[in-house]
């Protein structure tokens, strides 16, 4: 029974990693999914000085809801696939610096394999907050799979 970790922002590249992880997992394996809400979100409103508290609050609630919806979509997609394959899923979303969240997750538990998406090709949209594969390779002993973008699995899913 293997323990597999996927860390993602829910981007198309991360979906490729999800697909590859699902392909690799066998029935009875444990798939751990961390959805990272990057820590730059509060900084994006740092420059807003003229809105009233209620406008800022409305924006905060809206953004939280939007980000949670993105997580929920990823979670539901993964849950469906895991059920079909008999894989047990443990999913959570964490706010913080991507590399720190990843570091904490890996230090806390041991995984047999870690799946992450690769850097997306230039010209493809998405948030700019990548995990440095160099850092991961230097610090972690688990098998690391960096999944090419976009793979067949994603094309089929789309």
């Amino acid at each position: 029974m293997s323990r597999v970790l996927i860390a993602s922002h829910g981007t198309v590249g991360a979906q490729a990693a999800e697909c590859a992880a699902l392909e690799w997992c066998k029935s009875g394996d444990n798939l751990h999914h961390i959805f990272i809400i990057a820590d730059f979100w509060p900084d994006l409103t740092g420059d807003d000085w003229l809105n009233n508290g209620c406008v800022r609050n409305e924006y905060r609630l809206y953004l939280e809801e939007t980000l949670y919806d993105e997580y929920k979509q990823t979670f539901l997609r993964l849950e469906r696939s895991c059920k079909k394959r008999g894989i047990s899923l443990d999913s959570r979303f964490v706010f913080g610096r991507t590399d720190k969240v990843f570091e904490t997750a890996v230090q806390h538990d041991r995984y047999d394999r870690i799946f992450i998406g690769s850097r997306r090709p230039s010209g493809v949209g998405g948030i700019r907050d990548c995990l440095s594969s160099k850092k991961i390779l230097q610090h972690y002993s688990s098998l690391l799979m960096i999944v090419a973008y976009p793979n067949e699995c994603i094309r089929m899913a789309q």
Binding site: L44, G46, D47, D48, N52
Partner: protein, 520 residues
């Protein structure tokens, strides 16, 4: 939740400030001030400000460090003090030491080419720009310490208070003229850029939510407009990130580039204020650019802020327009609550600004004539009147004056031994500037002018206070601009924002240079 952290940081900041105050009051500090050329300008505030804030830091710092904190209002407000003190300490250090040192070094390098200006003047490297830079460097290299975060967020209150207080310094005529000009310019540029963004977005097949949030950000007032419009047009998270990243990069770049261009083109305060207020995407950076252009005065800031306020007043209207537009485009069944959108998005501090203007118009703070900083008053002591010898000297050169109004003003001055009216004062200054009389007599005229022109101490202090509030707000705002946020610029918003932002900056520059008078 308990906000106060038991840290000695505030105490240390208080001690450092008291150290500056103590050093400034000794003779040993004078050579440094003379070298930096700040003895005359900042000598007094160097002793008083760090002393006041140092004492606050010392006593409240002891309590923050050693006290037992319980949940409540006192804890909440006290927790903001370390961050506030950190911003103030950075602003003070930059204003009194770093910016003057940069000026000294720049003067040593000599003037730049044919510009007749030193590098620091040309690049606007004054305490405001350096303070914002220090803020940006602090947050991106060292990070804002946990104990200061609560207070750093308070910097936007500094800016809002600054704008409200600024309301007291406008005359009705200024407000009418600037208001007319700003409604004309801002109205056409806001509507034009919102329309252009929507048109470009349609051509580039950008989603409606993206087009909506980008048009508000680029068209009205940057990040604040994006924050206000995002929930209304149901923007996706990535669209918000792209838009704010693009606006932040543009805003920060403009804040540094606009003053350089303004200096190179020798723009007047009015022209630069109008240009910055129209052409800079983000409203926070408008104040930064205005103070970068004129750091030790508020004339440019006054013009720029009127433009800013006009822009802000467009915000609820544009958000409402976008809400209706979005619902129609998406053929959604949702209803737009017009009243709710307008009331919620209305920036309340503008009411404070109008109230301050109304109050100052009643003369409650100072007599009306004091508001420009200098005022005319010829009710002077006998010893300040011109002596017989001085009157004779002027009388002897009367034949050098040909203009009737100048002759009359000079005759009245000789007869009364003092300048008799504000109009005469203007005419006498004309004689001085034209150097029509001998150097000695010119000095007599200057003395007569000086005797009837007074600086309003109250207004001078008020202006300095406003400048400090903006400096505090802008350094704190700099501490909230991260590379991580700016890095999010990209995708189609970067292309559309780039095109519209550039068009707005260039077109507003041309219009301001051609149509806006040097003075109001």
């Amino acid at each position: 939740m308990i906000y106060c952290r038991n840290t000695p940081a505030l105490l240390v900041l208080g001690i450092l400030m008291l150290g500056i105050a103590a050093l400034a009051s000794t003779e040993y500090f004078n050579p440094i001030l003379v070298y930096l050329g700040t003895a005359e300008d900042y000598g007094r505030e160097l002793q008083t400000l760090p002393l006041c804030f140092g004492l606050i830091g010392l006593f409240s710092g002891l309590w923050v460090w050693l006290g037992k904190h319980v949940q409540g209002n006192l804890d909440y407000y006290l927790a903001a003090l370390p961050g506030v003190m950190l911003i103030l300490f950075i602003a003070m250090t930059i204003r009194w030491f770093v910016a003057p040192e940069v000026a000294v070094l720049s003067q040593q390098l000599g003037k730049v080419g044919q510009t007749d200006k030193y590098i620091h003047d040309l690049l606007g490297l004054n305490y405001i720009v350096l303070g914002i830079l220090a803020g940006i460097i602090t947050v991106n290299i060292f990070g804002v310490p946990q104990w200061a975060r609560h207070g750093v967020r308070l910097s936007r209150l500094g800016l809002k208070t600054g704008v409200i207080l600024l309301g007291a310094l406008y005359s009705l005529a200024e407000l009418q003229q600037l208001g007319r000009l700003s409604i004309l310019l801002i109205g056409s540029f806001v509507l034009g850029s919102v329309g252009l963004v929507l048109w470009l977005s349609k051509r580039m097949k950008v989603s409606h939510s993206m087009a909506g949030v980008l048009s508000a950000g680029v068209g009205v007032c940057g990040v604040s407009a994006t924050v206000a419009a995002a929930p209304v047009v149901k923007a996706k998270s990535i669209e918000i990130a792209y838009t704010i990243g693009t606006i932040l990069i543009w805003g920060v770049a403009c804040m540094f580039v606009f003053p350089v261009i303004g200096n190179l083109l020798n723009m007047s305060y009015v022209q630069f204020g109008a240009w910055a207020g129209t052409g800079i995407l983000n409203s926070a950076q408008v104040a930064g650019a205005a103070l970068a252009f004129q750091p030790d005065g508020i004339e440019t800031l006054k013009v720029a802020e009127i433009f800013n306020i006009t822009r802000v007043l467009f915000l609820p209207v544009i958000v409402l327009w976008l809400a209706i537009w979005y619902v129609r485009q998406e053929e959604a069944k949702a209803q737009v609550n017009v009243g709710r959108v307008v009331i919620e998005k209305f920036p309340l501090f503008v009411i404070g600004f109008i109230l301050m203007f109304a109050l100052s118009s009643t003369g409650i703070f100072a007599p009306a004539k004091h508001y420009k900083g200098k005022y005319f008053d010829n009710d002077i002591a006998t010893e300040l009147l011109l002596g017989q010898r001085e009157q004779d000297a002027l009388r002897a050169e009367m034949n050098k004056i040909n203009r009737v109004d100048q002759k009359a003003a000079l005759q009245r001055l000789i007869a009364n031994a003092k300048i008799m009216s504000e109009e005469d004062d203007a005419v006498i200054r004309g004689i001085v500037n034209a150097a029509l009389l001998s150097a000695d007599n010119n000095d007599i005229l200057k003395k007569a002018h000086k005797n009837v022109r007074h600086t309003s101490k109250k207004i001078k202090a008020f202006r300095e206070w406003i400048t400090w509030l903006f400096a505090f707000g802008l350094v704190g705002l700099g501490m909230q601009i991260t590379v991580g946020a700016m890095k999010q610029a990209g995708g189609q918003p970067a292309v559309i924002g780039g095109i519209v932002g550039l068009a707005k900056a260039v077109l507003s520059l041309v219009i301001v240079l051609v149509f806006v008078e040097q003075k109001i």
